[in-house]
């Protein structure tokens, strides 16, 4: 925490370079989300099918390595990788980004499905504490996208839990709104974007002191654009985000992704014509 306070002080008092690429700006290959049909499963269940939400600025084939393993302890600092993890299973696929048909700016957006005939181990929760059994133990699905000159890595957790009510993906309640209304025209500086989402779920959770409590999900939105930038690229559903650029020409993509902090994810794409 002391580090955080010092970071904040340094942030306020020092001078940095603000020319680094913005998180919301889409310009090349990028994984935006990995959506699972079910982000939570019971021990022994089949691995859910996944949808990779990707963008790329060129049409190409991307050889992709997939490794599936027990979570090595990423939240405690382990490398987010299956390397050296016993019981790791591997797979592969080739992604053709030329098939991405949703275009905006220089970027194409597409969804690639992935599934593997693998079951989550039936003994994954055996001998675990109540906290681990209810909060869950994760299997990770790790992707390595081989782009030639570089590799891009991403992973998704599938959580095995003893909860009877498994997590459902969050849902949007309507389209993206510009200044409170639907839109099809380009954005202008200071336009405010917003979107409604359905109510978050309530779930059982075991705190670190062993107390079993009911919690409500905290939903978060990630906003992306193929041109310009937002003042608040990560926002709560009740927050609008302000567009900070003027005079966009050509087509443009606005993508918003909602997450529920439990692995549930949903995306929505708005293609804006000139």
């Amino acid at each position: 925490m002391k580090t955080l306070i010092l970071l904040t002080t340094l942030f306020l008092l020092s001078c940095g370079d603000d020319n680094l690429s913005k998180v919301e700006r889409l310009s090349g290959f990028r994984v935006l989300a990995i959506e699972a049909s079910n982000s939570e499963v019971s021990p022994g269940d089949a691995l859910p099918s996944l949808s990779l939400h990707l963008v790329d600025n060129v049409a190409r084939n991307i050889p992709t390595d997939v490794a599936i393993c027990l979570d090595p302890g990423i939240s405690f600092g382990a490398e987010p990788s299956c390397e050296g993890v016993p019981g790791t299973q591997t797979s592969s696929l080739t992604i053709n980004t030329g098939g991405f048909t949703v275009t905006g700016g220089e970027v194409n957006y597409g969804i690639i499905p992935f599934s593997a005939p693998i079951n989550v181990p039936g003994t994954i929760l055996d001998g675990r504490s109540l906290q681990e059994a209810i909060n869950g133990v994760a299997v990770i699905v790790h992707f390595t996208f081989n782009l030639g000159d570089k590799k891009v890595e991403a992973f998704k957790r599938i959580v095995a839990t003893s909860r009877t009510q498994k997590n459902l993906n969050p849902q949007f309640a309507g389209p993206i709104l510009k200044n409170g209304t639907t839109f099809t025209t380009n954005l202008r500086k200071n336009d405010e974007l917003s979107i409604g989402v359905n109510a978050p779920e309530t779930y059982t959770y075991v705190a670190v002191d062993g107390e079993v409590i009911n919690r409500t999900e905290t939903l978060s939105l990630a906003w992306y654009t193929t041109s310009g930038e937002f003042n608040r690229p990560k926002a709560r559903p009740d927050q609008s985000v302000k567009y900070l650029k003027n005079g966009v020409t050509g087509s443009e993509l606005i993508i918003v992704i909602v997450r529920d902090e439990r692995g549930g994810v949903k995306s929505l794409v708005q293609q804006i014509p000139f």
Binding site: M1, K2, T3, L4, I5, L6, L7, T8, T9, L10, F11, L12, L13, S14, C15, G16, D17, N19, L20, S21, K22, V23, R30, V31, A33, I34, S39, P72, G73, I74, S75, F76, G77, A78, E79, P80, S81, V152, E153, A154, F155, K156, R157, A207, V208, D209, T218, S220, A222, N231, R232, P233, K234, R236, L244, I257, R259, E261, G263, V265
Partner: protein, 735 residues
């Protein structure tokens, strides 16, 4: 004829009239009485000597024109033409040639018990360039072995981390020594008598710090008359009042309030990334009361309170971590009441007792994540000093602490290695409330032994025992020091000793850390000398040269399975030289430290430590010209090592990239260099002094990298620079 005779008589009586002149001789500006000074009246060749209150009296002075003359070394000669007549309340003000000057001489020597200690007195740190208006702890960064810490101004002692340094006020530990991580220390400089640094090989009086100890000692309020001071500069304003209550008691009250928030708000207005919802502020209050109860007992109570508050909204997350966005609120406050009783039992025995009662409170709230710590603290120190004979002296002491702490926390654990922290969003959430009592018990024996009264050797076989309830450990720490006084100008010294500090609260927490964690330990070995070439003069060169080696064991490092373990080790070796030169109006010093500090972390190999600054050079000089003082400090410091981040892995559930670390601390920032200058101008009035100063930090606007800022996916990076040129203008009035 009668008329003529009358006129003659009147004229004669007028010419021969004799008067009495009584007055007081005071120092101009400070109104300090000047005692034992000769005051002359010419042309009558009369002389009077001032008493202890500065008063003088001339009798039978022929009335009429005369000249008062006072000529005192260190003062401007006073020649005042007067019409001598009966006077009872004459006041003469004698102006000093130099009121205060930035001196490189460490004048803490007289009260310094430990040869390893270095001290700066108020006169020294008040005038130090680059010290944000005379801040004592920032000025202490000029001392040998103190590293450069950038804008945060943490105290980095001989390559150890900031958490390895203990901060004391009047010997009692306090949670912070700086406001807002380094802007200024928590006591107004004018209420501090001296700042002391114990870097390594220090005696048994202090412990719980592998790196070093930084101690502030509050001053004893003056009791001659009422004194006051008020100042205002770009960042803060404050004042001080001190004086006698009665013949045996005196008081001091001081306070400071910072309006730096208004400055930062201006910065924030032009920044879309954050909104300051409440201007950050800090203030501190100090009050001191002393009373000479009787010839044997002196009582002193110090009250210190400090509060920092900051609230803002981050529209963009810090370090691209969605977990660090939105509302940010921080409040850090503490207070201590420190009563001290010094009893001179007899000519050879003295007993010091003190206790500090206080409260520490830290609240950090980031959206719905928070850390709320409330701690009630009592610390106690006692020391019995006994001079058994001219060759044997002992100091038997206790150093205890008891605290009751309540912690409310809702934060994820956050793994960090090599100075690169995983995003908060990735960590496992920990939400709990806990509390309890912890105590630390310490006892020590310091012995000073001379083989015989004329011996040049002094041996100090010391020992300290500490018990920590946190991990239920008892530590026996032998510490041995020796000194050899070659001659009156050359002192040789050496030491070896064991130092232990308890683990940090988060490291030993059963919820966050590992309640089986042990205390880190360090063996210190030092050798050094001080050579004074001044041969009794106040001008010339004095050189101090020290070498140190520290072997670090049981260091706490992150552990994926247990949160933390004790498998870290390390070593620190280095040497430092301080050369001080003073002549006439010039004073200067050169301070150079060579350092090699490394850590061994299983699984990550051996690497330089985060604060390994190979070369650290400080050049300081000062020139006094009448009422002007010009001073400058130049620093050149090797860049800190850092761990390169070679990429990131996308965590699709938390929408954040986890950094992929290269070899830890395998790269270094460019060297740090900075010139700070300061100009003081004093205006001396009869009864008060006005000082105006201009302090310019980073005079030539060097772009010193302090940290690295990464793109959201770690594909690109840029250096974050430290403070740009930062001028501070202030005025201070005192009487």
């Amino acid at each position: 004829m009668v008329f003529f005779t009358l006129i003659t008589l009147i004229f004669t009586s007028f010419v021969n009239a004799q008067v009495t002149i009584e007055g007081t001789l005071l120092e101009k500006g400070t109104r300090k009485p000047l005692a034992d000074v000769s005051v002359f009246i010419l042309p009558h060749k009369l002389k009077a000597t001032t008493t202890s209150t500065g008063s003088y009296k001339f009798e039978n002075v022929p009335a009429g024109s005369c000249q008062l003359i006072v000529n005192l070394t260190g003062y401007i000669k006073l020649e005042k033409n007067e019409n001598c007549q009966e006077t009872k309340n004459q006041q003469l003000f004698l102006e000093k040639k130099f009121y205060t000057s930035f001196q490189t001489t460490v004048t803490g020597k007289a009260t310094r018990r430990d040869d390893q200690a270095q001290a700066l007195t108020q006169e020294e740190f008040i005038k130090a360039p680059g010290s944000f208006g005379g801040d004592p702890v920032r000025a202490a960064q000029n001392l040998p072995g103190v590293g450069q810490s950038g804008a945060n101004a943490q105290v980095i002692v001989q390559g150890a981390g900031p958490d390895d340094t203990s901060y004391l006020i009047n010997g009692h530990r306090v949670p912070i020594i700086f406001h807002f991580g380094g802007l200024s220390s928590v006591i107004i400089p004018e209420a501090v008598d001296r700042v002391e640094l114990l870097p390594s090989g220090y005696g048994p009086e202090y412990s719980l710090a592998l790196g070093g100890v930084v101690g502030l000692t509050t001053k004893n309020p003056r009791n001659d008359r009422l004194h006051g001071m008020a100042f205002v500069d770009l960042f803060n304003a404050g004042g001080l009042l001190e004086g006698p209550i009665d013949e045996k008691s005196s008081f001091l009250v001081a306070g400071r309030y910072s309006y730096i928030g208004q400055v930062l708000q201006k910065v924030a207005e032009s920044n879309d990334n954050l909104e300051l919802t409440a201007a950050p502020t800090y203030y501190d209050i100090t009050s001191i009361y002393t009373r000479e109860i009787n010839e044997k007992n002196i009582f002193k109570t110090t009250f210190v309170a400090s509060r920092d508050e900051l609230e803002l909204i981050f529209n963009r997350s810090i370090n691209n971590d969605p977990g660090l966005t939105g509302n940010f609120y921080n409040r850090t406050q503490f207070f201590r009441i420190i009563p001290q009783l010094t009893t001179q039992i007899n000519s050879t025995t003295k007993l010091d007792n003190s206790i500090a009662i206080g409260k520490d409170a830290i609240l950090v709230d980031i959206s719905s994540r928070y850390l709320d710590v409330d701690s009630n603290v009592i610390t106690q120190r006692s020391e019995l000093t006994k001079e058994w004979s001219p060759t044997y002296k002992t100091y038997l002491g206790l150093d205890n602490r008891l605290d009751y702490t309540e912690v409310k926390i809702n934060l994820p654990n956050s793994y960090s290695i090599g100075g690169v922290r995983n995003p908060f969003s990735v960590g496992e959430e920990r939400s709990f409330t806990t509390g309890g009592t912890d105590f630390e018990l310490g006892a020590y024996l310091r012995q000073e032994i001379k083989p015989h009264a004329q011996s040049k050797w002094t041996f100090l076989p010391n020992v300290r025992v500490d018990y920590f309830s946190t991990n239920e450990e008892t530590h026996f720490q032998p510490r041995f020091q020796t000194r050899y006084l070659w001659d009156s100008s050359l002192l040789l010294r050496g030491s070896v000793g064991l130092y232990v500090q308890p683990p940090q609260p988060q490291e030993s927490s059963k919820e966050y850390g590992n309640n089986k964690i042990r205390s880190p330990k360090s063996w210190h070995y030092t050798a050094g000398l001080t050579k004074d070439f001044r041969q009794g003069s106040s001008e010339g060169i004095e050189v101090t040269n020290n070498y140190f080696y520290k072997e670090l064991n049981d260091l706490v490092i992150p552990d994926i399975q247990k949160n933390y373990n004790n498998s870290g080790t390390g070593r620190i070796l280095g040497g430092e030289v301080q050369a001080k030169y003073r002549k006439n109006e010039w004073s200067s010093q050169l301070v150079y430290t060579y350092l090699d500090s490394e850590r061994r972390i299983p699984g990550f190999g051996t690497a330089s430590s985060e604060f390994d600054q190979t070369h650290n050079l400080n050049l300081i000089c000062s020139y006094n010209l009448e009422r002007w003082t010009y001073s400058a400090r130049f620093r050149f410091v090797s860049g800190n090592p850092y761990t390169p981040v070679i990429g990131g892995t996308y965590d699709a559930d938390n929408d954040v990239y986890i950094p992929q670390r290269g070899r830890i601390y395998s790269q270094r920032f460019d060297a740090f260099n900075q010139l700070d200058i300061r100009i003081d101008r004093k205006f001396i009035y009869d009864t008060w002094i006005l000082t105006a100063y201009l302090d310019i930090q980073n005079f030539y606007n060097a772009k010193n990298p302090q940290s690295i800022q990464y793109a959201f996916d770690y594909s690109k990076s840029s250096r974050v620079r430290g403070l740009p040129i930062l001028p501070t203008f202030g005025v201070k009035g005192e009487f």
